[in-house]
Symmetry: C2
Subunit: 282 residues, 2 copies
């Protein structure tokens, strides 16, 4: 018996498309409806086997859904929240896959103020610098962490249902508040993006033939969609700036050791960095 | 007919071991001699099929060699240069695989001042954050760039022989002066290392469970050997600092856009970074 009779996915890019594929391959839904603004993307999602039906009409697409997943860019999620709240079934479970949580959860709590439907925010820590439904993969969430961000206003059953949903796709769920999420993810995701972008920008294109795997790895995420990332930063400005200041401090330590020919200190700094990196594994 | 009858490789880590493996698999040498300080590493190199013979005696190991490749850490290369020059055959070709070139080439030109042997510096832009002969691969140089750094004192035949040597292992050769090399590699290799180290250091270990592929990629090289890297920086201080300043300027631009809520400027910066990253390919 499918866990969710009808699932509506708003935004069928890499994340939305992968959710659809995973649901369909694991036979967890009777019907997966893909909702998007562009016919072309919807067609690709269908061709990729990510959805059963598609529509560009948000209200129509979500009206019969038992579970709704908002998988558009963060600012689109915020902008469409009122419409989602007004058009969905009163019994629907709603979550999202946005990369920042405070703005989204606040907008949801405003829109879903009255009894049901039940919204709990999520952020799957899975992704790729390649976007679009053509890169969707049914195993994208397997073994990956999904952060679920209830607040003290969240319905307990909704928290369980959303947690079960991600686990049914193979993910591990970590639970924290939206504010904790945004602060922590600023360090491990938003800061690396700023750093990778600055590093790519600091490289004259004529030197690219000399770039080896170090440069490739370190700048890879700078390939991400600038619009998506601008929205992520716009909805997590303070935490991103705070993380950036910690980074600047660490970089200044390395710079001082380098500039002062303090090789012992430089090595100690590199050892400290290696210890943290090695703690994660490859 | 083998191109080089006897090749001596001083330092049989990842790079030295891979050179040996490539020479042996491609049948480019009658004999490959691995020279190192630690018996254990030499045993691993032999077990990995990287060398035919091993010795801890530098003078003995290089005495009969037609080609000598110095593949130890940069400061060891500099320190052993006089001994190499005095013990090698007068007709031997000598190169190295060090990550910086000015210090090494200067020490070689001092040590090899008189007629032959013929030294030309090299830097294979191939490597891995994993070190040691157990990770050596015969195909490590295939399709990769090796920078060869002659000076106006270099022997033309030596330049040709060293260029041919790397090409025979499957590499593409780029030629530039040692100073040009060090300045350019500071941007595409040494700067990324500093940035990756600062980023790893800026991450509290308790947040690692939230680290996804972005953090993983961006910090991967921070796993590199701190001693090796300290030596690389010590022999390329000025260029590394110059590259770091360019990076700081780019990061400050991103920070200002973020802090001033200038989303258009932030997006333009991210677009510029993406353009450069995409120019390289995946």
């Amino acid at each position: 018996m499918p866990e969710h009779q009808t699932v509506a996915i708003v935004g069928v890019g890499l994340i939305g498309g992968s959710i659809g594929k995973a649901l369909r391959e694991r036979k967890l839904a009777d019907k997966v409806i893909g909702i998007g603004r562009r016919e072309e993307t919807l067609k690709k999602a269908k061709a990729a086997g990510a959805v059963d039906h598609t529509t560009t009409d948000l209200k129509e697409g979500i009206s019969e859904a038992d579970l709704i997943v908002l998988a558009t860019p963060v600012q689109t999620i915020v902008r469409t929240m009122d419409e989602v709240a007004s058009a969905c079934r009163k019994s629907a479970w709603v979550t999202d896959a946005g990369s920042t949580k405070e703005h989204i959860v606040q907008s949801a709590e405003k829109a879903f103020r009255d009894a049901g439907p039940y919204f709990v925010g999520s952020h799957p820590l899975a992704g790729d610098h390649r976007t679009g439904p053509e890169h969707a993969r049914a195993d994208l969430f397997e073994g990956r962490t999904v952060v679920v961000t209830p607040t003290d206003k969240s319905d307990q059953k909704a928290i369980s249902r959303i947690t079960d949903f991600w686990q049914s796709l193979g993910a591990k769920v970590e639970t924290m508040t939206p504010a904790e999420h945004d602060q922590r993810i600023a360090v491990v995701s938003h800061l690396p993006h700023l750093v990778a972008a600055a590093l790519a920008s600091a490289t004259p294109e004529k030197l690219l033939p000399l770039a080896a795997s170090g440069w490739r790895d370190t700048t890879r995420i700078a390939s991400g969609d600038p619009q998506l990332w601008q929205e992520i930063f716009a909805t997590n400005r303070a935490s991103a700036l705070e993380a950036l200041e910690t980074f600047e401090h660490k970089l200044a330590e390395l710079k001082a050791a380098l500039g002062n020919s303090d090789d012992a200190r430089l090595k100690a700094n590199l050892e400290g960095a290696k210890r943290i990196r090695d703690a994660l594994g490859n």
